[in-house]
Symmetry: C2
Subunit: 223 residues, 2 copies
Amino acid sequence: MKRAICILSGGMDSATASYIAKRDGYDIVALHFCYSQRTQQRELKAFNDIADTLGAKKYVIDLGFFENIGASALVDKDIEVPTGGIAPGVPVTYVPFRNGIFLSVAAAIAEKEGAEAIFIGVVEEDSSGYPDCRKSFIESMERSINLGTRDETNIEIKTPLIDLKKEDIVTLASKMGVPLELTWSCYKESETACGVCDSCRLRLKGFKKAKLKDPIPYMIKVE
Amino acid sequence: MKRAICILSGGMDSATASYIAKRDGYDIVALHFCYSQRTQQRELKAFNDIADTLGAKKYVIDLGFFENIGASALVDKDIEVPTGGIAPGVPVTYVPFRNGIFLSVAAAIAEKEGAEAIFIGVVEEDSSGYPDCRKSFIESMERSINLGTRDETNIEIKTPLIDLKKEDIVTLASKMGVPLELTWSCYKESETACGVCDSCRLRLKGFKKAKLKDPIPYMIKVE
C-alpha cells in the first residue's frame, strides 16, 4: 500500500489535506510538530483527535529550539499576536523557514518509513503571506529532498490546497466529512478561539463565504 | 560586518570551514546540533572548544527526535558502527536527510541573525558516500532557502571544502592554524578515538597522505 507522511498541525487546512491523502488511497503517517508555539497543548490535542479518526501512525516531533530562535509572535511571548485585522506583507507571526524545517524532518521520516509522498496543507493565494507557503518554494524543496536522500528514495510533496481560497477549503472539507469540530486554528493560547487573530479571521471569513457554520466556539466573532 | 552561520560539528572539516569563514572576514555564529548521536557529549566539547577559539556566538540546537527516527548506526544503538573498512554505497551511518534538516535550521537562524552566509564543511569527492553531501543537493537547498524566506533575506551556502580531498583539508587546516587537536571525528562513543570506524579511517588516511601527524590519540591505528 502506498504511504504518505501528512504534516498535521491540527488546523483546518492540514486536516483537509490529510483527508485528501486518505481518500487518494494512502496509508497515513501523521506528523505533528511541537515548536514552543503558544497553542502547543491545544494543537496537540487537535492533532491526536484528527489522526485517530484517520487511523494514522503518529509522530510527534519536538522542535522546542524555536523558542531560542524566536523572531515570531507565535513562539516569542514578548511579541504580541495582532488582533486588529490582516495587514499586507509578511506578518509578525511568520516563523523563520518553518515549513522548510517541517518538510526536511518529514523527508527524513518519509525515507525511514518508505513513504512516497508528503502532504502539506499550505495555501498560497488566499493565505497568511508567509514566504514558505509559495508554490515555487515547495517545488524547489521537493527537488532538494530528492537530491539529498538515497537514489532509491523518491518523494513527492503534495499540496492539494495550494490554489484554493479559504471558502473552497471549507466547502471541500465539509463535503468530505473532515471533522472540523476537532480542528484548531487560533494563534492565541486561550481555551476558546479568540476570533480576532489573523488565523481566526481567515477561518471565519472562509465559513462565511462558504455559507456554512463553523462548529467551534469563539470568544468574539467580527463581522 | 558581514555575518555567517557556521555549522560546526566539532570535526576537522567543519572546524576548517569555520576558520575559512573567519579568514574571509565574517563575524561567526557557530551552530551545533545534538541529535542523539553516539558521540554527543564529546562532539559538544569539541564544538565549544573550537567556537571559543573563534570568538563566536554559539547556538546549540537539540534535535533529540533523531533517536525516534533512527535508521542509522549513528543514532540507533542497535545498529553497529562498522569498523572493518570503508565499503561502497551509502553506509549504515547515513542519517536520513541530516544535512537538509541542519541547513533548514541554519537558514532560520541566519534569517533571525541577519546572516548572509551559511558555511558547511561537506566534502563530496573524497567522502563518506552520503547523498546529502552532494553539490547538486547543496545548490538546490540554497535555492529552496531563498524562496522560502523573506524577499529581503539572501543567504549563500558556502562549501569551501566540497571538492577537496581529505589530505588537502589536513594541509589547509594545518597551514591556517586550525586547532586540530581540539577536533573530534570518531563515530564511536569511546573516550579515545577508535581509529577503525569510517570517519577515523578517512581522517587518518588524510593525515598520512598529507605527511602530517594527527595530534589526537587513537586506540588503534590501521596502516
